[in-house]
């Protein structure tokens, strides 16, 4: 009986409304659709909350809301505290029609309609919402909810960012991507953006597919399990001086990240122009064959003939047909060594150059020149320590370190003035040619000053595992 009077009252009100020309319009309903979580994940529940407010100034009888939900998944539930809710699944299972009905939605009353799905494929869920009231149907709008294949927080890091470089140097930098979960990430892509003045020389390990569209280029890293990291070495050549930002962003197609997670990192690569220093570089003696190393060795001297002290000197070695075995780097095609000890005005240093000549005979003297450079650095290889078997202090002032090696593996020595000092790396990295190596510290350019001139020197042998 009460229902009869209620419906009768609604009918009267609607009749009166029509008499005064007031008709409900779509704009007269407040509506909000919220998906949680948004974006959602395949296989995880996504809850939708559809809130509709009657702003028509009139009570609406037999108020109906229909949500056409397109997207593969499983319908879980629907609730309507003001009425009832039903769901109908299409034959192919790709569309759910969720229907809500409210007998009366009074003015300013809020209909809180809730329903939930569990998506089975990544992509999106499309929803079209319709409202019907008093025989009038309104198409309200459509909503799209993104469905992710998974969530993986990828951490990007730079390592061994070179310092003290000049335009034309062949440089290398390590990028590491680590999957911090929660899902295994397949097809991880590392997108790099850097200045137009950088020329990409290659990526190690080789064989990775490289999608290159300057100034962005992509390394395809493959899949990463949770907790797994992968490093790549990027070889590049700056063409100009300056400080250049380099941003690397990791991602997986159709994957998301946790809220607030930034799967990217930025570093700055400084490339300097040569300083104004002036140097005289000359050979001191002909190249001689060393039976201890199997290499040709030549003693040279560099003198600061400029008007200012310099922080570091780079000696460029041109015209050596067999290259430079102890080169610290290459600028263009010219190998060089760097003296990393400050050189005062008028001060000079002796250095050793090493070359491998299969004939074991002296070649022509190289053409030498020196340029002032900022103090180089930045090389931070991944290493494991190696025990030193024997330390020999030789009569000529050199110090020999003997340690076990494995043929073909690479080793480097770190040295410093104290036992606890972090120390510097004695470049270059050496590849073992036997089952043990007798490494000789003879001073520049391997170490800044001869060991005999150092107050104290401590050594640590490291096997380089990356790069």
């Amino acid at each position: 009986m009460r229902r009869f009077w209620r419906d009768w009252l609604i009918g009267v009100l609607l009749f009166l409304g029509s008499l005064v020309g007031l008709r409900a319009q779509v704009s007269q309903y407040g509506m909000e659709l919220v998906a949680k979580p948004d974006p959602a994940r395949v296989g995880s529940d996504v809850a939708f909350r559809l809130v509709i407010t009657n702003l028509t100034s009139f009570a609406q009888g037999t108020f109906q809301v229909t949500a056409f939900v397109e997207g593969a998944g499983t319908f879980l539930s629907a609730t309507n505290v003001l009425g009832y809710a039903t769901n109908q699944v299409s034959g192919n299972g790709l569309t759910n029609t969720v229907f809500f009905e409210i007998p009366v939605l009074t003015n300013n009353q809020v209909a809180d309609l809730r329903y939930a799905f569990r998506p089975s494929t990544h992509g999106s869920i499309q929803q079209n919402i319709w409202i019907q009231s008093a025989g009038t149907v309104f198409y309200v709008t459509n909503y799209t909810t993104r469905i992710l294949a998974g969530v993986a927080d990828l951490e990007v890091g730079f390592r061994s960012v070179p310092r003290g470089s000049l335009p034309g140097d062949l440089l290398a930098c390590t990028l590491t991507v680590t999957n911090r979960g929660p899902d295994r990430a397949g097809d991880v892509r590392l997108t790099n953006s850097w200045p137009a003045g950088f020329v990409l020389q290659g990526v190690d390990p080789s064989g990775m597919v490289l999608d290159r569209r300057d100034p962005e280029w992509v390394i395809l890293l493959g899949s990463l399990d949770v907790g797994e990291g992968r490093s790549v070495q990027v070889r590049f050549q700056p063409q100009a001086s300056g400080t250049f930002p380099w941003t690397a962003r990791a991602g997986v197609p159709d994957f998301g990240t946790s809220p607030g997670w930034i799967p990217a990192a930025t570093t700055r690569v400084s490339v300097a122009e040569p300083g104004p220093g002036s140097f005289r570089v000359a050979t001191l003696a002909p190249s001689v064959f060393s039976r201890q190393t199997g290499l040709m060795q030549q003693r040279i001297r560099v003198d600061n003939v400029g008007s200012n002290p310099v922080e570091a000197v780079r000696i460029l070695v041109r015209g050596s047909p067999t290259g430079l075995y102890n080169a610290h780097g290459t600028n263009g095609l010219v190998p060089f060594v760097t003296l990393t000890e400050p050189l005062l005005q008028g001060e000079g240093r002796d250095l050793w150059l090493q070359t491998f000549n299969p004939l074991r005979t002296p070649g022509p003297d190289p053409e030498l020149s020196g340029v002032e450079v900022p103090l180089p650095g930045g090389f931070q290889p991944e290493t494991v320590p190696v025990l030193i078997d024997r330390v020999v202090r030789n009569p000529d002032g050199t110090v020999g370190l003997e340690f076990p090696t494995q043929l073909g593996r690479r080793y480097i020595v770190r040295f410093g003035p104290g036992l606890r000092a972090k120390g510097e790396l004695a470049l270059p990295v050496q590849t073992a040619t036997a089952n043990r190596v007798l490494w000789l510290d003879w001073g520049p350019p391997l170490t800044p000053i001869p060991p005999a001139d150092a107050a104290s020197r401590f050594y640590e042998v490291l096997e380089v595992t990356w790069p």
Partner: protein
């Protein structure tokens, strides 16, 4: 095709799986005693144990060693392999008369008086030993194929061809006293700081280098022991062909006998894996051998008991006496004689008549 008609006619592959279950009901499988009612051919497959194979192994006199080559003295650019190291040609071709491809085993090899590395290579040894080694039971496999020539009531005259494979290992593991002859060569170190022994230099040309010309030192004769093992590792493939007399003496029981010529192929040969234990405490490995193919002839006699478990499957037990000629191996002071003259083979398996 069988001459009788059985209600049990089923595909042949069914027989093995149902064999066990049919064993219990075997007495119900009626079988005519007349062999003319039986199948006309058969194929047997079984495992075999071979007994009474012997080998005489002997070492007598000077045995040269072939596994290392110390190389010539005084000649540059040659490879030298020693018991205690090596000096080889490196990637540069020993440019400058030096090589990075060298190694040594022990610090005692360095002679500070002459600044030389001393290497030794055992040229041979003398020892005396003669043992007879019995093989013991040796497993193998046997296959036999046979057919019918003529039937008389319970007896059939047929033929059969057999093949058997037996891997044989007859080794002497005794430790022998021996006298060793070692060639001694030396290389100048050239003043380098020697890496600690044991050192194995690579062939890249980079690293410590030493001159590549060996210098002769007097040979050494010293005592010691020869340990390890030496002997024969051969596979016997025997083939036989002969007449066969088959007698069915019970509904499910039959006896078969065969005699005829046999041929044996022996692959493999003499091998040794020894260690020289010198009186100065050092050791050297001596590994080698010589394979060859030997053909021996002889004859056989075999007797087989068969039990019919299903209409076309028999279990059989067979014993065979095989007499083949002996085979000689070795050389250079080592000798081995394989005696196959009184070989006994026992086999068990399944026979499929068809």
């Amino acid at each position: 095709m069988p001459r009788h008609h059985s209600i049990f006619r089923t595909p042949a592959w069914v027989a093995p799986p149902v064999l066990a279950s049919l064993l219990a009901t075997a007495p119900t499988l009626a079988q005519s005693l007349w062999v003319q009612d039986d199948w006309t051919r058969n194929f047997r497959l079984g495992v075999q144990v071979t007994l009474n194979v012997q080998a005489q192994l002997s070492i007598d006199g000077v045995v040269p060693r072939r596994s290392t080559d110390p190389g010539p003295v005084g000649v540059p650019g040659r490879n030298h392999q020693y018991d205690d190291g090596y000096v080889r040609v490196d990637a540069t071709g020993n440019a400058g008369g030096v090589t990075s491809s060298w190694g040594y085993q022990d610090a005692s090899q360095y002679d500070p008086a002459t600044d030389q590395l001393v290497y030794r290579s055992t040229l041979g040894f003398s020892a005396r030993d003669q043992v007879t080694v019995d093989s013991g039971p040796m497993p193998g496999v046997e296959m036999v194929y046979g057919g019918r020539l003529h039937d008389w009531r319970w007896v059939r005259l047929g033929w059969e061809f057999g093949y058997a494979w037996v891997p044989m290992e007859l080794r002497d593991t005794s430790t022998l006293p021996a006298q060793f002859l070692r060639e001694v060569q030396a290389f100048d170190v050239g003043g380098i700081s020697l890496p600690t022994a044991p050192y194995q230099g690579g062939s890249s040309g980079i690293g410590p280098v030493i001159p590549d010309i060996s210098k002769a030192r007097p040979d050494e004769v010293l005592g010691g022991f020869l340990s390890g093992s030496r002997g024969l590792d051969v596979d016997l493939h025997s083939f036989r062909l002969g007449p066969n007399l088959f007698w069915r003496f019970g509904k499910q029981w039959a006896l078969s006998g065969s005699i005829g010529p046999a041929l044996g192929l022996l692959s493999g040969g003499y091998s040794y894996n020894e260690t020289f234990r010198f009186s100065d405490g050092t050791t050297a490995a001596n590994v080698g051998g010589q394979d060859k193919l030997v053909c021996v002839f002889g004859g056989y006699a075999a007797a087989t008991v068969l039990y019919r478990v299903v209409y076309n499957a028999d279990l059989y037990v067979s014993s065979q006496f095989l007499s083949l000629g002996g085979a000689q191996y070795g050389g250079g002071g080592r000798r081995a004689t394989l005696d196959l003259g009184q070989t006994v083979m026992t086999s068990i398996g399944i026979s499929w008549p068809f």
